[in-house]
Symmetry: C2
Subunit: 230 residues, 2 copies
């Protein structure tokens, strides 16, 4: 069996993995106990992943197979490595995971407005210029403007997480007694946030925070390989 | 095996079942192909369900067992009738269904502000006075005020359903290729709406509407027993 390779977005510190989507894959691989070689990737390293036919990470390389994006990688791992712990817990749960995947994407979008102005600080210089220019073009405003008024916007952000909070008040993981891909997908959003910014999104005693800590303890070794701010 | 009995909220037409929560149970029973006797219940029939120890429906009676609320009933049916079609599709999917159940509750809350002023019209006279008085006390305003400006609020309501819409654009049911309890929980909210009000919440070609029609076709006989406005 060839060693899996994972291209993951990294900061100026190559150990700082900070893509919310690559975190989904990293956790999925950890869940399935699949060893992999992590390849730090920067925004401008388009050539390194050109065999995948596109320009974004995470990209998984399995022998001569190049797989992207995070959702496709999760399904690939589940189907191609059926003798490792199930990432979805059956076909019904896999179906129900699709909504959670979109939910995680939505949380990423919301979090971006709280951490966007901090991201340049953790990037290599070349990437920094690229990141700031492309994002500001997309947003039509500066990252500083986009990420202003954080404290005022925070209560609404927290309120938007109420259903998640309610769920995690009564059970340990989104999937029940043990975590599955939906847990990792949403974990990725918050792990990204604390990998790029000191801005604390959740109250300490928030059940969502307790759940993040639970995942952190369960995957301590894997998660601690990448620096984070809190 | 004693016949299951289900107390369901009914309008002046005893066939009009309109509780969003009782619809979850009705669909769960249909899914599990469990025959049941439906007992029309009105808000003031507190005595009829006093053996359940509380004052709300749905209440399921199975022999000498009285079970409420809709989530507990779903779990009861799944555990006590394991040889009927699974309502959750396994323990992982059951865990993942909790969030959907909260999501359905949230949609019910949102829909209430669009249909609240129409509900009195479908109620028996005694229930009507009770419903209007208790709800207006709770809301601190008249049902008419509470449900005003529907057209102006509708785009935001529809936007709030974007993740659901995105999911149902790419798969037939929330659970994938066939429906499970999360589908029924959210179905219940919309079925309630069209059982009490002529106000149309979704655009005709909305993927959520297509999904509702799919469920309607699948459970046509059961659903058509209760009148609806559209």
């Amino acid at each position: 069996m060839p060693i899996l390779k994972l291209f993951e977005l990294a900061g100026s510190d190559p150990n700082r993995k900070f893509s919310p989507f690559a975190w989904r894959t990293r956790m999925a691989l950890a869940h399935k106990k699949l060893a992999f070689e992590s390849i730090p990737w920067r925004f401008l390293d388009k050539d390194a992943i050109s065999a995948s036919g596109q320009t974004k990470v995470p990209v998984l390389v399995d022998g001569n197979q190049w797989i992207f994006d995070s959702w496709k990688i999760a399904n690939y791992l589940e189907d191609l490595y059926p003798n490792t712990p199930s990432l979805f817990g059956g076909n019904s749960a896999r179906g129900l995971s699709v909504f959670y995947n979109h939910l995680a994407d939505g949380i990423v979008s919301q979090i971006f407005s709280f951490v966007a102005d901090d991201i340049p600080n953790i990037l290599e210089e070349k990437d920094r210029e690229y990141f700031v220019r492309t994002r500001e073009e997309f947003l039509g405003q500066s990252l500083t403007e986009f990420a202003s008024n954080k404290a005022a916007r925070l209560p609404k952000f927290r309120e938007n997480l109420n259903l998640l909070r309610k769920t995690l008040t009564n059970q340990e993981y989104l999937a029940g007694n043990s975590p599955l891909y939906p847990d990792y997908a949403i974990f990725g959003a918050f792990q990204w946030a604390r990998s790029v910014s000191t801005f604390v999104l959740l109250e300490k005693n928030d059940p969502i925070n307790t759940w993040l800590d639970r995942l952190l303890n369960m995957y301590e070794e894997e998660i601690n390989k990448s620096p984070r701010f809190y």
